[in-house]
Amino acid sequence: MKNVIALTAAIALLTAPFTTAYAAVSVSGSTSVSNVVEVLAETYQKSSRHNVDVQGTGSSSGILAAKNGTSMIGMSSRELRPDEAAPDTQQLVIARDGIALIVNNNNPVESLTREQIKRIYRKEITNWQEVGGDNKAIVVVTRDASSGTREAFEKILGLKRRVNGIPVTSISAAAQVANGNGMVKTLVANNDYAISYISLGSVDDNLLKSLKVDNVEASEKNILSGQYSIARPFILLFKNELDPQAADFIRYIMSDTGQSIVAEQGYIRVN
């Protein structure tokens, strides 16, 4: 008899979350943003009984989904174009992603322009002398194609081209490929004339230095103010009249707990 009672109680406890569960908060859009929002949703679901359903579909479809209401919240990893904005849709920047250009400490070059960086990665500029450095060949190091940092780097600088109608990278095929942040740092730390890029949060080696871009230093302050240009905002979009559960999730993201998770994931907190 005792067993039966215990079993019933156990079943009741197990099914309780389902019976009282609310409809899930739906979030869709940029795959880069969804990496962070998924982690946020996981911790959020532990502390509340609301379910959050996150789908990475790309920035453009995330913006569209928020405007026509297919998702309660849309995600974008780029600023909206004027024709994409709608009067009844709000935007909220939840984090910023910055990419630092790194070179060896022994390299005299301190600053590059966006255009120079683009041309270096296309191998149109191949000698440091052309950008004010020593008369030495530039060793271009990039990341493997699965890297989110590479994806962001290519998108921000426009290092993309089309082959047979399919967008592909325009980073030179002769560039060295490192399969991880650790290897990027080892390569640049051991080679005086190498250049590469990593997330701003990962520049911690005293053998490396990060370059100024268009004479603006790569720092959290300059990224937050929008002056440092190799950076992108992580934006959430939602209707003015927002579902209360979705509003609660957004409050959680902007709270101190949510923002520390953003920082843990290697992005810059905005709050």
Partner: protein
């Protein structure tokens, strides 16, 4: 107890057992099962590779895939630069590694005083046990900077760095097998050569090494298989650029490195193209083994 080998046929007639030999049958089956594990694995791997890789061949075309020179997924899937990189790095490793290995094997089997052999042999065996990521790291911090200084080039992450690391990695395999096959020769070979007035060195090069050829070639084939299949160390020292290397002082990407670097995220036709990279690799290994069988057969007759 009767065994089920061919040689015991006569025993069955001499001493027939009244009840069936269950233990014998069990072990017979056990041996067959064990022997089949390798064959079944190979068949499964081949079937898997072909079923996953054929869509890429069908969509991109065999010629475009195997002889295409641009690797730009998801648009272009030319793996020719990687085939070239794999072949050059393996061939270079054999060119440097095999002579060193054979001379070491002769030294250990014929010339070395016991105390020295007792130092060299464990060292070689230990070399076989070092994980490839450690070879890669060694290459990255020692060989790569050395190449930069020696050849005065901006980056030492080159085909040459891969060749040197692979040459060191195949040493233990070739040395161990060559030494064993030289030691396994009947003593009459050497005794006969010496009795005919040949010097020790002459008998080594003209009698012992030719006589042990089959074993040495097996060692070389296993070394080549290791070199062409090596991945981790190569990713760390060769620079992995998917462009056609213009010389051995330029970075390059091997077939194995291509699979390892991109498999984690590839989808659709891109993933399929990586499996077809695996098919090309498998075909190379089959050709290699077939070539070795042919050479061995010719040397017997």
């Amino acid at each position: 107890m009767n065994t089920c080998t061919k040689n015991s046929d006569s025993g069955i007639f001499l001493r027939p057992t009244p009840k069936p030999d269950r233990l014998g049958t069990f072990f017979h089956l056990l041996f067959i099962c064990c022997a089949m594990v390798g064959v079944v694995s190979l068949a499964t791997i081949a079937w898997f590779l072909f079923s996953e890789g054929l869509p890429a061949f069908r969509q991109a075309g065999v010629i475009e895939l195997v002889f295409g020179s641009e690797w730009l997924p998801p648009a272009l899937f030319g793996i020719f630069p990687m085939i070239v990189a794999s072949l050059i790095s393996t061939f270079g490793a054999v060119l440097i590694g095999v002579p060193i290995a054979i001379l070491t094997a002769v030294f250990l089997a014929e010339l070395a005083p016991k105390w020295l052999a007792d130092i060299v042999r464990p060292a070689v065996e230990l070399l076989a046990g070092i994980p490839s990521v450690v070879y890669g790291f060694f290459g990255l911090v020692v060989i790569v900077p050395a190449i930069e200084v020696l050849f005065n080039i901006p980056a030492g992450n080159t085909l040459l760095a891969g060749v040197i690391v692979l040459a060191i990695m195949i040493l233990p395999t070739v040395i161990t097998i060559s030494e064993t096959s030289i030691r396994a020769l009947p003593p009459v070979y050497k005794e006969g050569a010496l009795a005919l007035g040949a010097s020790h060195i002459y008998s080594i090069f003209k009698v012992l090494i030719p006589a042990a050829r089959s074993g040495i070639l097996t060692g070389v084939a296993l070394g080549i298989a290791r070199a062409i299949g090596e991945t981790m160390a190569i990713i760390m020292v060769m620079g992995n650029a998917p462009a056609m290397p213009g010389s051995i002082l330029e970075p390059a990407r091997t077939l194995t490195a291509n699979i390892a670097m991109e498999m984690s995220y590839a989808t659709g036709i891109h993933a399929s193209a990586l499996y077809s990279t695996g098919i090309v690799l498998l075909i190379f290994i089959v050709l290699l083994n077939a070539g070795l069988l042919y050479i061995n057969k010719k040397s017997v007759h």
